[in-house]
């Protein structure tokens, strides 16, 4: 097991290095920062001075190791737009993204799994047909368009939920959270729902195929033969057995949710890191973009690592391949 973990850790490290090199080459070599920052009236001498100040006149490999050294120390420089350390900026916006992502995941699981189990158990019922059609439509409608529709329905026509912003936040551990105030919570519902729709569809499909597979296994027949009630069979025998793939996908999905939050946060003007990334791309705020990409890579690598290790713990066959 230790062997597996070390090998897997090595792979993760290589992955992070490759991605950091790609981001570095992309942001500092392909698009020349001097050209971006230089004014119209810059002379050649001014340009050279600027290049020296930014350190881009040194050999590439030196630049890359400087960059890497700074990244390891958590120093991504200062934002061109906000004139503040990028790390502070991201840490300040992160809670907003996290709370919406977790609420979305919660909604996705709580709604998706029961829908899937129900349609797996009752394959012939009309409700199942409706669920299956709804999940197909849910997959087909682009995320941002669902957001636009939600705003139109709940904020413009029914006028029961706010369409944008975070609402009131409550300070807990020195960080503002929307979920602890009623007003903030009402602002969270639409973005979280928007983010959750894909998860609901995915979990419903997973739970349905899982249920169909488990339903005809011998232990299910045996449980029925023992005369256990239907409800107890579903809870004790069925759901526990379909949970393994669901847990895996849920872990991987969490990263996907944070990535997709870029879209949802833009639609609902939710001030999280996704909106920060897009604003920074629009404003050519390079340090923020670089920091976001590096941090999100780290996050994905960590999530994948944890999922793989958990999987290996659960299934010994994986460890020995």
């Amino acid at each position: 097991m230790l062997n597996f973990i070390t090998r897997r850790l090595g792979q993760s490290a290589v992955l992070v290095l490759v991605m950091s090199a790609l981001v570095f080459v992309g942001m500092y070599v392909i698009s020349d920062p001097v050209a971006v920052l230089a004014g119209e009236d810059f002379t050649e001498a001014d340009r050279q001075a600027l290049a020296a100040e930014l350190g881009v006149d040194r050999p590439l490999i030196v630049q890359y190791f400087n960059f890497l050294g700074n990244v390891i120390r958590g120093d991504f420089g200062s934002s061109f737009v906000y004139n503040r350390p990028v790390m502070d900026l991201i840490l300040e916006k992160l809670p907003a993204t996290l709370e919406v992502a977790f609420l979305a995941m919660f909604i996705g699981l709580v709604v998706g799994i029961p829908l899937g189990v129900y349609s797996g158990l009752n394959q012939k019922k009309p409700a199942t047909k409706t669920i299956s059609f709804a999940t197909t439509v849910g997959y087909s409608i682009p995320n941002f368009w669902q957001g636009v529709l939600l705003i139109m329905l709940f904020a413009v026509w029914l006028q029961i939920l706010p369409a944008s912003g975070r609402g009131d936040t409550v300070e807990v551990f020195g960080v503002g959270w929307s979920m602890f105030s009623l007003n903030g919570l009402s602002h969270m519902i639409l973005p979280a729902l928007n983010l959750a729709i894909y998860t609901i569809c995915l979990q419903a499909r997973l739970a349905r195929s899982g249920t169909q597979e488990v339903m005809y296994q011998d232990f299910m027949t045996f449980a029925r033969a023992k005369g256990i009630s239907r409800e107890r069979i579903v809870r004790r025998h069925l759901v526990r057995n379909i949970l393994i793939p669901i847990v895996t996908i849920t872990g991987l999905q969490l990263g996907g949710l944070i990535a997709f939050a870029t879209v949802t946060e833009t639609v609902f003007s939710w001030p999280g890191i996704g909106k920060l990334l897009l604003d920074s791309i629009h404003n050519s705020d390079r340090p923020v973009v670089v920091a976001y990409l590096i941090l999100i890579t780290l996050m994905f690598v960590t999530i994948n690592f944890i999922v793989d290790v958990t999987y290996a713990l659960l299934d010994p066959r994986i460890r020995y391949t």
């Binding site: 409608i141 368009w145 870029t262």
Partner: protein
């Protein structure tokens, strides 16, 4: 009197037809008894025709500034423009007819998605074949890159590409190509590996054909069908991805708005109740993606040997 088989008249064309079903027959076999898939196919045809003939159908050239009149701005659906042209779906803030804008937007959305998927799949197929054929470090490098790509959500990679190269139609296509090739490569490699074990490949090797020749002449045609099956799914995915990127403002430029950008333009007017500007482009987008997806589902089910017989 015994019949001499050699004298029996055989119509060679009919015999050939019987042996190999025609394209129309195969086609009918896939779609017969599946009204939803057939409707999807008709829908796709209609959208493609609308996109091709947009300049002929559209009541207005939405990008010809001389045809726009600011007085026509924000008219609701069913109004008439200043010059008497009926505006079935209303106008946007600049007095642009939404129907015309949607027809032109459809062209751009379809064009971007098709180019990206075709080029992306071609690269993916080539990489997959190469990995299977060459093995060794070539395979390791290709498949590790595929793993790397697959471990990130497509939207993030696309944003990364666009952050580096800037925006524009060509950049969006590049971003979508980077998003499209990896799954195809993985698919083709798997099929090609099993094809490589077959005798015809040994025969070709013994005949002294080069690796490249075997790859192009034998492996390619025999490994391509799974890619063709997932192609419609890739196209609808690319349409959605392009729309998302354009909606976020990092996709196509304002001068060549796709459906996604039209929705983004209308998004600013939603809170003031001007719903038509973003609803109609969105409906077209969703209808198109849905049509492609039902056809794609049908093709996938048909290609799945476990389900074959059951339909």
């Amino acid at each position: 009197m015994p019949t001499d088989v050699t004298t029996v008249e055989v119509d060679p064309v009919a015999a050939a037809d019987k042996a190999e079903p025609t394209f129309a027959e195969k086609f009918w076999k896939v779609f017969r008894g599946h009204p939803a898939a057939l409707a999807g196919l008709i829908g796709i045809t209609v959208f493609v025709l609308l996109a091709i003939f947009a300049p002929l159908i559209a009541p207005q050239d939405p990008y010809d500034q001389t045809q726009l009149d600011i007085l026509d701005g924000l008219l609701p659906p069913g109004s008439q423009l200043w010059d008497g042209t009926p505006s079935l779906l209303g106008t946007d803030a600049l007095g642009r007819d939404i129907l015309s804008a949607v027809l032109y937007g459809l062209r751009i959305s379809l064009f971007v998605a098709l180019v990206a998927v075709i080029v992306g799949s071609a690269i993916g197929v080539f990489m997959g074949l190469l990995a299977a054929m060459k093995g060794g470090w070539v395979e390791t490098v290709i498949m590790r890159t595929v793993d790397l790509k697959m471990s990130f959500p497509g939207i993030l990679l696309a944003l990364m590409v666009l952050a580096i190269f800037g925006t524009g139609i060509d950049k969006v296509i590049i971003a979508l190509i980077i998003g499209a090739w990896a799954s195809e490569a993985r698919l083709v490699r798997a099929v090609a590996l099993s094809e490589l074990k077959k005798e015809y490949v040994d025969a070709a090797r013994l005949a002294g054909l080069s690796d490249w020749r075997i790859m192009g002449r034998f492996l390619f045609p025999n490994s391509i069908s799974p890619v063709l099956v997932v192609l419609p799914m890739s196209i609808s995915g690319a349409i959605g991805a392009e729309a998302t990127l354009s909606f976020l403002g990092v996709g196509v430029p304002i001068t060549e708005p796709s459906l996604g950008l039209l929705i983004a333009n209308g998004n600013d007017y939603i809170l003031s109740g001007k719903w038509w500007i973003s609803i109609f482009p969105g409906l077209v987008l969703v209808a198109m993606v849905l049509c492609i997806n039902v056809v794609a589902d049908r093709l996938r089910d048909h290609a799945n040997p476990y389900l074959r017989g059951k339909d």
